[in-house]
């Protein structure tokens, strides 16, 4: 199956409708569905939420676009709802957190491997090792708070090992910013990657900010406060790699194209037929959005959208385990640090501003260290005997 953004027209905007019943469908099964189905659900919620947030920002700055933005945004709001409500209520907030971090690891790894720009690929690998560490800390919390094994969510696809320790991830904002891609020379896939990962990090940040206060345990509350701060840094990092000189219309068009690309990737990899049908429906919806937006683009910018977007979509995002790649990156790059917008290979080279900021933040205890004190992941939780031995 191949998609052409300009010739595949999708579902016309005025035929994109929902009912409340339609928005609230049978959720995926935490026990029986594949972990990658949950990964797709979480990521696509993030993609849609970014669409809504971007659309609001754009509307605040462009009076003449307010109505077309509002029309498409209404559909995207309902797409986000339908997708996010596919998460079953038997996921505790902490189990969903494990799912979020699995998204951050497996999707960022897929993007890092495919990214053609070496600096951007380095940026993804840098962020990857930080989210990888969050998985280890949250796994310890899930075990020590709820007595549960995070592998029930991860389904053997993802390692549970410390990454770049969260304690070292706290940086001065000046060391979080990155160089942006050049909107004229960057490949389309680079633009998709940047938007996709930024969207994922943004929803993770919002999620942690919302659920952190739901916990009663002080260490849990602190850990969410600490990791939410890192997710905020990650949003800062990833939004800075996007060329700020893109016009509003350029950004809108790339957003819609990226949504098409992501639903296309979901369709190509989904194993649950019912969920796959939803991805196909929303792929058609997004093609409809793209059609509408490219017409507005032509009217406003008086130029051909083909100047910034090629019709043929890049190869789909790969939803698979990246265990070996992540271990390789971990081995080589765990000590990397960012100094301004550059990366250095040794922790010795960090800036004083980051060290000072970190020292003060960590001066009354470090939740990510407390939660994982002495913790080494074991199947069945740390209190279990050796459960995988042969009988």
């Amino acid at each position: 199956m191949s998609i052409n953004l300009f010739t595949d027209k999708g579902t016309p905007l005025d035929q994109q409708r929902f009912t409340w019943k339609d928005l609230v469908q049978k959720p995926l099964s935490k026990l029986n569905d594949d972990a990658f189905t949950r990964i797709r659900v979480i990521l696509m919620n993030g993609i849609e939420l970014e669409a809504v947030r971007f659309s609001h920002a754009c509307a605040r700055m462009n009076a003449e676009l307010q109505l077309p933005l509002a029309k498409i945004r209404r559909v995207e709001q309902h797409q986000a709802t339908l997708v996010n409500w596919l998460l079953g209520s038997d996921h505790s907030p902490l189990e969903t957190t494990i799912g979020y971090e699995q998204v951050a690891i497996e999707v960022t790894a897929a993007v890092a491997l495919k990214e053609p720009d070496p600096y951007l690929a380095q940026t993804y690998r840098y962020g990857l090792l930080e989210d990888f560490d969050h998985m280890y800390r949250y796994t310890a919390l899930l075990d020590r708070l709820e007595g549960k094994d995070s592998n029930c969510i991860l389904q053997n696809y993802t390692d549970i090992i410390p990454g770049r320790p969260t304690v070292f991830e706290h940086r001065d904002p000046a060391d979080d910013l990155r160089f942006p891609y050049d909107r004229h020379s960057a490949e389309l896939i680079s633009k998709f990657h940047a938007l996709t990962i930024m969207a994922g990090e943004q929803q993770t940040h919002n999620y942690y900010m919302n659920i952190g206060p739901l916990f009663s345990d002080p260490t849990a509350r602190q850990l969410y406060a600490e990791i939410a701060s890192i997710e905020e840094q990650h949003v800062t990092q990833y939004e800075s790699i996007i060329d700020p000189d893109e016009t509003w219309m350029e950004k809108w068009l790339i957003h819609e194209a990226n949504e098409v690309y992501n639903y296309y990737s979901c369709v190509m990899s989904e194993t649950n037929p019912r969920i796959k049908a939803l991805w196909e429906r929303f792929l058609d919806y997004e093609l409809g959005h793209f059609q509408a937006v490219q017409e507005i683009f032509k009217q406003i910018e008086m130029r051909d959208p083909l100047e910034i977007i090629s019709g043929k979509l890049p190869a789909p995002l790969e939803y698979k385990s990246h265990r070996n790649f992540v271990r390789e990156v971990l081995k080589k790059e765990v000590d990397y640090r960012s100094v301004g917008k550059e990366y250095v290979t040794s922790s010795e080279e960090e800036t004083d501003r980051s060290l000072q900021y970190r020292d003060y933040m960590n001066s009354e205890g470090i939740p990510s260290e407390t939660v994982a004190a002495g913790y080494i992941y074991k199947p069945g939780t740390e209190n279990a005997m050796n459960l995988l031995r042969k009988h």
């Binding site: 594949d34 592998n151 389904q155 549970i160 090992i161 345990d217 002080p218 002495g374 992941y377 995988l388």
Partner: protein, 246 residues
């Protein structure tokens, strides 16, 4: 929806779903983890630290009537605290939530395709009505003592937090009648124990009318518990409840 759903299927949560990959996870964790110093007791220490800095979830409301102030003063004088009003507030809240749990159980009954072997719906509805009656009776006693039956006391709040899981399970369209009934069993176990405590507290304060009314409620709750427990056992063992019970 079947009454009992414990069929074999494609559950993917276990490590043995893919032993080869599970061993990679296990061995990777063993060889590549250098954990921070200490152990899980640090979480306990942090709890203690915050306990020392923190206060309670809230307080028992100050009565707004003269009668209420007198009752409150009497309890303080006799018991040294306001536990009775706190626990009475808890029973009001618990019974009120209990009626909603039974309403959800009735939905679960109605949504079960094969109702053969299920308990008699009339009995379930009777229990529901009794929970409703207990709620209003407890609220009446609160009013007679000059308290505010609409206020959320600390114990009412905590009971609500503790019961959040029951509400999630019983209202989930995917759970079976039996899974929901087991949730009711948990609630009835707690309910029985709490009525017993409340009766003791009322007796200590010499609230004879309350003791009498609470005792009637407890007798009904004992029947709820015994019946629900037996239904749960029989449905698990035989897939149906015995006619004798009904």
């Amino acid at each position: 929806m079947e009454t009992i759903e414990a069929n074999l299927g494609i559950n993917k949560t276990g490590a043995l779903t893919s032993i080869k990959e599970a061993l990679k996870t296990k061995e990777g964790a063993e060889s590549l983890t250098t954990p921070p110093p200490g152990d899980s007791s640090l979480l306990g220490e942090n709890r203690v630290l915050y306990m020392q800095e923190g206060g309670p979830v809230g307080t028992v409301p100050v009565p707004m009537t003269v009668k209420g102030l007198m009752s409150s003063a009497q309890e303080k004088l006799m018991m040294g605290n306001h536990v009775f009003m706190d626990k009475l507030g808890e029973r009001i809240a618990f019974e009120r939530t209990g009626t909603r749990l039974y309403e959800a159980l009735i939905s679960k009954y109605q949504g079960t395709s094969d109702q053969e072997g299920l308990p008699d719906l009339i009995t379930i509805e009777q229990f529901y009505m009794e929970e409703l009656k207990h709620f209003n009776m407890a609220a009446e006693i609160m009013m007679k003592l000059g308290g505010d039956p609409t206020a959320m006391t600390p114990s009412a709040d905590i009971a609500g937090v503790a019961g959040m899981g029951w509400i999630q399970v019983i209202n989930d369209p995917r759970t079976t009648f039996l899974q929901s009934l087991e949730t009711i069993l948990q609630a009835e176990l707690v309910d029985n124990a709490c009525w017993e405590t409340l009766i003791e507290l009322a007796a200590n304060l010499g609230l004879n009318e309350a003791v009498d009314e609470f005792t009637v409620a407890l007798q009904e709750e004992i029947i709820h518990l015994r019946t629900v427990k037996q239904w749960v056992t029989e449905l698990n063992l035989d897939g149906k409840v015995s006619q004798l019970l009904q």
